[in-house]
């Protein structure tokens, strides 16, 4: 239980606070509209559908304010940098931004549903009131016209017998904007389903820009001031006395004609801040897009991997960060994320691009047709953006697990170690690194094996074999591998990678690995970093919780996952 608190405590706390605010807003505004005396006559027409519509509206205001913030990459990177004082745990929360964005989106969807249903009832009941189906008081209230000569203000937005609920909705600002933004929301949600997102990111990305329509409509949604409350008149209108005799309003001293006015729109106050912040974010991305980027070197690696070494003025990176690349020649609007494989100590930054889809394939084809030593196609770079890997050097002991393509951020980390070591950087708090490389096959990762070879040599030369312990696991082995291994078992270096450390076959036994790390480092804080599939993340997270000791003097494992 206590291990769970260490690893998930802050996330759970933030969720509880968020949910608490939602519940508070819902209940507060429900009671405000359900019991507020200024809405007594409105409730006469609408019953409890009024508070049922207004309460989710308040929750919607709050959540629409929140939803833009987790997707401001640059803002989050900035926060991450300035939280260096506040410890790892705070910064880890910023890695879960996408999860929070989705959670807030679900809440918006739920509240929209409740709000819409309540308004369906409202529209129907307003219409019925006007047509006299709810008794004399309701009729009298509905008949109040918006007239300067008669000195009356209306309560019921339905103003004529031919108004149907559908007509009401489509002829009021609130109704029209409501339908449009709900439609935009539905399209956004259906195109962000996991299936669509993972297969056709473009559909998701382009459809998601409907949020512009969503926010525009949202801000104007209340402009019609259709929710009306009773104003104080002189002499005051005594509701409890006057409601039984609506015919005599205006003729009795205690019962002047009640006056109503619409509420001032509130939503813009909630969302204007985040909208400006998001605008700044997109502006920043655009400015970064315009910066010139030049190619230092282009290398085609084995197995259709493209290495690009780029130089951009004023570009500063930290280990394990990623950038977004855009190549206008291939696609004007597509930005694709790539983890950087170079270390911050180098005067350029590099990415290794594998051919996985249209964009990458096109890029590789374009580059292959370049003349010798020529500059590559114009490239725009946005970033760098931070991930959990930046924390690697803060931990005394780090366990790095890279699965398949997820090994890429660790290329940057390992290179940085190499440089820090050569310069004897005192900032390096790390004493030991355990690196686990899992891949189905070494196809497309020969470049990484080369890097490990270089590091292996360097470590041996300095007599620091203990600093870096790396284990390679080939999970996609078959009979031919076995035969090959049997024949060459007495060779000094591994047959697959050429490294001194032999490749193991199959998946690692994590219990054994964690036990080993715990034994060799009895009193350290160990950071576990994974870049790989979700199933492995769950596994490692469980192991971290299992092998962590509550006792602060003993080994504690913290789990960090990188996500795109």
């Amino acid at each position: 239980m206590s291990n769970w608190i260490i690893n998930h405590g802050l996330s759970a706390f933030i969720l509880v606070v968020w949910m608490g605010i939602n519940i508070f807003l819902f209940v507060y505004y429900y009671l405000f509209y359900d019991q507020g005396p200024q809405f007594e006559y409105t409730r006469e027409l609408l019953g409890s559908a009024l508070p049922w519509a207004r309460a989710p509206a308040a929750v919607l205001n709050f959540n629409c304010m929140l939803i833009l913030l987790p997707v401001c990459r640059n803002l989050l990177s900035l926060l991450r940098g300035s939280f260096i004082c506040c410890g790892r745990t705070m910064r880890k929360q910023l890695d879960k931004n996408l999860t929070f964005h989705k959670l807030v989106a679900y809440m918006i969807a739920l509240m929209t549903a409740v709000h819409t249903v309540a308004h369906l009832l409202n529209a129907e009941w307003y219409t019925n009131s006007f047509q006299g189906l709810y008794g004399p008081l309701a009729s009298k209230l509905s008949m109040l016209d918006d007239s300067v000569e008669l000195n009356t203000t209306y309560l019921n937005p339905v103003r004529s017998n031919s108004t149907t609920p559908t007509l009401l909705v489509f002829t009021t600002i609130a109704g029209l904007t409501g339908v449009v933004i709900t439609l935009a929301l539905i399209l956004m949600i259906t195109s962000s389903m996991e299936v669509i997102r993972r297969s056709y990111f473009e559909v998701f990305w382009y459809t998601h820009h409907l949020f512009i329509i969503f926010f525009a409509g949202l801000v104007f949604h209340g402009a019609g001031r259709i929710v009306r409350s009773q104003q104080v008149t002189d002499p005051p209108h005594n509701n409890s006395f006057c409601e039984d005799q609506p015919e005599s309003w205006g003729n009795l001293t205690g019962c002047p004609i009640p006056q109503f006015a619409g509420g001032f729109p509130q939503t813009w106050r909630w969302v204007i801040g985040p909208m400006i912040i998001y605008l700044c974010e997109r502006l920043l991305r655009f400015i970064r897009y315009m910066q010139p980027v030049s190619y230092r070197k282009i290398v085609i690696r084995p197995s259709k991997v493209l290495e690009l070494q780029l130089v951009k003025p004023g570009f500063k990176m930290a280990v394990g960060q990623y950038v977004f690349l855009n190549c206008p020649a291939i696609s004007q609007l597509e930005w694709h994320p790539f983890t950087m494989t170079s270390a911050p100590e180098e005067d350029f930054f590099s990415v290794h691009i594998r051919s996985v889809g249209d964009w990458t394939e096109n890029l590789i084809k374009m580059v292959e047709n370049l003349p010798e030593g020529g500059q590559g196609p114009k490239m725009a770079v946005d970033g760098p953006f931070g991930t959990a890997s930046e924390d690697v050097f803060d931990y005394e002991v780090s366990m790095l697990v890279g699965a398949g393509i997820g090994v890429t951020p660790f290329a940057s980390i390992l290179k940085s170690i190499w440089y820090k070591f050569k310069d004897s950087d005192p900032k390096l708090r790390t004493k030991r690194i355990y690196f686990y490389w899992l891949c189905r096959e070494t196809y497309a990762f020969e470049w990484f094996a080369d890097l490990l070879q270089v590091l292996e040599r360097e470590m041996e030369e300095r007599g620091m074999r203990d600093f870096l312990t790396y284990k390679l696991y080939l999970t996609g082995w078959d009979q031919s591998h076995v035969n090959h291994a049997m024949v060459h078992f007495d060779k000094d270096t591994d047959i697959i990678t050429g490294l001194k450390q032999k490749t193991s076959y199959g998946r690692p036994n994590w219990d054994k690995e964690f036990e080993q790390v715990k034994q060799e480092n009895p009193s350290s804080v160990v950071g576990t970093f994974l870049c790989g599939p979700q199933a492995l993340a769950k596994d490692l997270e469980k192991k971290c919780v299992k092998y962590s000791d509550v006792d602060p003097r003993k080994t504690k494992f913290y789990f960090n996952k990188e996500n795109f």
Binding site: T166, I186, F201
Partner: protein, 186 residues
């Protein structure tokens, strides 16, 4: 990430539209709105659309992810053959089903969403896609090497019984009995 299969998005949109249609219909009927008959139709049409759209189609390229428990729905939908296979039919069906929803406020949203789904299905049909059921694959049983069926006919060669006896003086160091010497130089 390959070329888009429009049908996948149309499917999500249609399923969502079906649910919205049903919800709007329930509100219309429960609240006894004017024109509740359209709402009742909305419920029926919405349920039908949900049942039709629940089973996902097999993708042209790549792995298909099933929805939980969709197998029985797959079988039902497959039974209608070309009617459910063809996306033109689906596009027209959805377009027809959505029209009555437009006559009443509660079902208007369902109507528009279903209409959009119909358009996306039309696009899918024009691109030549069709619905393919996801059926459980019957794996051929793993072929073990043929030699496993042929047990050896003769026992392995052994030295005569005198040599097989453990030497008393070498008892402690002997981990096991070696019928034949294993070192090269002997």
């Amino acid at each position: 990430m390959g070329k888009i299969e429009w049908a996948m998005w149309a499917n999500e949109q249609a399923l969502a539209a079906g649910l919205i249609y049903v919800t709007g219909g329930i509100v219309g009927v429960a609240g006894q709105f004017r024109g509740w008959q359209f709402a009742a139709f909305g419920i029926a049409a919405g349920v039908f659309v949900c049942l039709l759209e629940y089973p996902r189609s097999k993708r042209g390229k790549g792995t298909s992810v099933e929805r939980t428990g969709q197998y029985c729905f797959t079988v039902c939908v497959k039974a209608f053959g070309p009617l459910t296979r063809n996306y033109y039919v689906r596009a027209f069906l959805h377009a027809a089903l959505c029209v009555p929803g437009g006559f009443m406020l509660a079902t208007v949203l369902g109507c528009v969403c279903l209409g959009i789904a119909s358009l996306i299905y039309l696009s899918a049909a024009i691109h030549g896609e069709h619905w393919e059921p996801i059926l459980p694959r019957t794996e051929p049983p793993k072929r073990v090497g043929d030699s496993i069926k042929e047990p050896p006919q003769n026992p392995p060669p052994r030295p005569p019984p005198e040599l097989r006896r453990k030497k008393a003086d070498k008892l402690e160091t002997a981990a096991y009995d070696n019928p034949m010497s294993v070192t090269v130089n002997e």
